[in-house]
């Protein structure tokens, strides 16, 4: 059983599986949002987690002081996502029946004073937060390490937990892409949300149906491409950044064949059986063309197939910026699968200009 779980938790399977369940959940959102589903899921999660914690290896990872808060945070992420969707689906059902959303009912439209209603709540939150922090800092000692040394790195060398998704991304990309371009685009994209998403529905009340595309694409990026990568980076990456199943002992000598090659090498050497051309652009032309196609023809194609409606309601500039952001976001899972299945290192490989995609 444990061997099977170790095997299945390999990102190839677990990432595919979680994508599948994500879209299954979106499709049957009413089921996911029901209290019954949540109760059963909670019980199952607790049972499975309890059973897994019986294993000494898994337990040692979980109760490591660095990782304990991450477990709390994961629980919070799941809870708040579910809660928002739960409220949204209730409103969807009400509106389908012709009633106003819960937030629009007369008793909820009543206004209250900031003092004392809000300030009391805030005061309580401050006190509870402080108590929690004090208790936490007493119970779990902060894991300090030895002084930094430029000629030595801990193994595995892990970023702070909130950057572990980024560190996981870096496994598949050049530092300029995963360390600079993508984070900047993430921030720019988040800032741009109010300018891109001018849909007035959903203002002031929870809903899912009214903003299906927006919510789905956000949750995809957030839960699958960020939270899930943090989980992998935190719990399942051991020495040498090798993948270890949740019950697998972190043996520094575990060897995984991870040889990988560039697209230019696959094309010229494997496929055409000739040496790499001397000229950089001749060498990388296939990758450059593919990247160009990805950002030109794919948007056109998507627009033809699904996008007409959005194109009209959003206007050209907004629409194409959105497509650009979505395509960039999708390049991460794409690159992950290319790495797993055809051992692809870089699509465009030009270390001469520090440009590797």
């Amino acid at each position: 059983m444990k061997a099977i779980i170790n095997y299945l938790s390999d990102p190839v399977f677990s990432f595919t599986g979680i994508i599948f369940f994500f879209f299954l959940g979106i499709k049957h959102i009413e089921v996911v949002a029901s209290k019954k589903f949540a109760t059963i899921a909670l019980i199952l999660i607790l049972i499975i987690f309890g059973w897994m914690s019986l294993d000494p290896v898994f337990l040692s990872i979980v109760i490591w002081p660095d990782n304990v808060p991450i477990i709390f945070l994961l629980a919070l992420v799941i809870w708040s996502t579910w809660f928002a969707i739960h409220k949204g689906v209730i409103n969807d059902q009400r509106m389908a029946a012709g009633e106003p959303p819960v937030e629009g009912t007369p008793e909820n439209r009543e206004k209250v004073w900031a003092w004392p209603n809000l300030v009391y709540t805030e005061l309580f939150a401050i006190i509870a937060g402080t108590v929690f922090l004090i208790a936490w800092s007493i119970l779990l000692k902060s894991p300090l390490e030895e002084p930094a040394n430029p000629t030595w790195a801990p193994n595995p060398a892990k970023a702070p937990w909130y950057f572990l998704g980024l560190q996981e991304m870096l496994v598949y990309f050049d530092p300029w892409i995963a360390g600079v371009t993508l984070p900047v685009l993430i921030v720019v994209g988040l800032i741009a949300i109010p300018y891109i998403d001018t849909n007035p529905k959903g203002n002031g009340y929870y809903s899912f149906k009214d903003r299906k595309f927006a919510i789905t694409s956000f949750l995809f990026g957030w839960l699958l491409l960020w939270i899930f990568l943090i989980i992998i980076g935190t719990f399942l990456r051991g020495p040498n950044w090798t993948f270890y199943g949740p019950f697998e002992f972190w043996d520094a000598h575990k060897v995984v064949a991870a040889n990988n090659i560039n697209l230019s090498e696959i094309f010229w050497i494997k496929f055409l059986n000739m040496p790499l051309p001397k000229n950089i652009f001749a060498r990388e032309f296939l990758g450059l063309i593919l990247v160009a196609i990805y950002y030109t023809f794919v948007p056109v194609f998507i627009t033809r197939k699904f996008g007409q409606k959005f194109l009209i309601t959003m206007g050209k500039a907004r629409y194409y910026f959105l497509i650009f952001l979505v395509l960039t976001m999708m390049s991460l899972p794409l690159k992950m699968y290319l790495r797993w299945f055809i051992n692809l290192k870089y699509i465009v490989f030009m270390p001469e200009f520090e440009l590797n995609i």
Binding site: P150, T151, W152, A153, P154, N155, P156, A157, Q167, L170, V171, Y172, F173, D174, P175, G179, P239, N240, W241, T242, A252, H253, V255, A257, A258, N259, N260, K345, Y346, F349, P351, E352, N356
Partner: protein
């Protein structure tokens, strides 16, 4: 009378400007002093940085393969094979972590994102885009190998054939 008193207590134009310049000089001196203190504070009192070049001893004394003896102090691996003695940087070409030499697996493996390098520094797995860089090595008059870290040789630029990048042994 009143006029005289007023004249005594006030300062004339010339005095005003000399006071002003004294005040200004004092102010700039103190601000400059504080700034220089802050500036000085930004630099550590003791620098543990190793020298940029060092004497690695006689190349004949090394076994073939990867040698780790200078890694802790200077961040340099010596690699000897095929009649060449080279000094390799221990900085991963991906994002600058320090790889570990796994002698059993005969490869360097980076703890940050899992890049792997062959003993000669060529990258073969993980995200590292380029091989490990090499430093300048040369023999001094007494036949000792000197490693000069100020000059690097990059494989993808074809610099590894540069005679400065290795010592023939």
């Amino acid at each position: 009378m009143a006029l005289e008193v007023e004249k005594k207590s006030s300062i004339n134009r010339r005095e005003f400007f000399s006071y002003l310049s004294i005040g200004f000089i004092a102010l700039s001196a103190s601000v400059g002093g504080v700034l220089s203190l802050i500036f000085r504070y930004l630099y550590p009192n003791v620098v543990f940085e190793p020298a940029m070049d060092f004497n690695a001893g006689r190349p004949e004394a090394y076994d073939t393969g990867v040698d780790e003896r200078w890694k802790k102090i200077y961040g340099v691996w010596i690699f000897k094979s095929d009649g060449k003695f080279v000094a390799m940087s221990n900085i991963c070409t991906h994002l600058g972590c320090v790889p570990t030499w796994l002698s059993a697996e005969r490869k360097f493996k980076c703890p940050c994102h899992g890049s792997g390098f062959y003993p000669n520094g060529i990258n073969f797995e993980g995200p590292a885009p380029r091989p490990l860089e090499r430093y300048k090595v040369f023999l001094d008059a007494t036949g000792n190998a000197i490693v000069d870290k100020t000059r690097v040789f990059r494989y993808e630029k074809g610099e590894w054939s540069n005679p400065d990048s290795y010592i023939s042994v």
